[in-house]
Symmetry: C2
Subunit: 157 residues, 2 copies
DNA sequence: ATACAATACAGATAAATATTCTTTTTATAT
DNA sequence: ATATAAAAAGAATATTTATCTGTATTGTAT
């Protein structure tokens, strides 16, 4: 049977989502426990795949990537082989950080992170519009971002 | 003058973006260096704010949050105080992981992570539609996700 | 209710790692 | 070429991780 998460596991995940570079001791203190069971739980969560990986979160703006753009795309054809090809092509573009197949007024929603408006235009002209069967394409240029996180609220689980 | 990143810093950021739970020794090996300069560079990148934090990336689906939805929202009024209030309200909803002010056919683009279609509907009915001055609202329900990462390609910097 | 088994916990310890300090090398400007 | 500054290497120390052992708790069957 599948391993299921208890309250402590969820608390632990919340803690690690916010900051994964804490010592087991400090995490244990927050949970009111000692290190060994906490350590074992973390290892279990990693092994079972609840924790996929640990990563550094960078400041994109500081690095020079100042612009986030969302692009809704409707395709004119919907054959399976074409959809697969489309996703494959899209995934090779380094500007694209997300690519979702969606239902609604578009077929795909892309999220792009680029230097600036110029880099965005270059992407559109020299990459996106070269793809065949493009239908309606609509960009939403981010002006400011109120919230942007991977952190999932687990209190509702 | 502002600290600027050299090739080694960028390589280091790429490595830490992919996996931050490596020993300094292993990272140093990948860079062909010894641990101490690598350690110092990491501390510098943290201190200067290029690295914002370290986090655990969870498997949302496994945890029970199976649905991602994007919602484009146009408002009917655009007074400053109202926009501020709108963002504030939105940020309090735990379902919302991203909230961007955008230009284009909408004023805001939200990204939601919820259990399922039912939880999505509950959000719309009992949270979103209670906000005043809502105009056009359009949801894009994710069917499948081809790519979803924070990892920024730094080779182009 | 009681005994038994299974699981989780606390505390202690050895091994590994992070961190600091000193010395050496490399790069740069005069 | 030489002096200076910056970065890297090497070595020593402080922390932390990971493991082990014994104890407590929880669940289950009688």
């Amino acid at each position: 049977m599948a391993y299921s998460l208890d309250k402590i596991d969820l608390q632990l995940l919340e803690i690690l989502q916010k900051d994964s570079n804490q010592t087991t001791k400090r995490i244990a203190e927050q949970l009111g426990m000692t290190t060994s069971p906490v350590f074992e739980r973390i290892k279990k969560l990693e092994k079972e795949g609840y924790i996929k990986k640990y990563v550094a979160v960078l400041d994109n703006k500081k690095i020079g990537l100042k612009l986030t753009v969302f692009i809704g795309i409707a395709l004119q054809g919907h054959t399976r082989s074409y959809l697969e090809k489309f996703v494959k092509e899209i995934n090779n573009f380094p500007e694209i950080v997300e690519c979702h197949r969606v239902s609604g007024n578009f077929d795909y929603l892309l999220k792009l992170v680029v230097e600036d408006i110029e880099a965005y235009e270059t992407f559109i002209i020299s990459k996106l519009t070269l793809l065949p069967y493009l239908g309606n394409v609509q960009s939403l240029i981010t002006l400011s971002t109120g919230k942007e996180t991977n952190e999932i609220d687990l209190s509702r689980i």
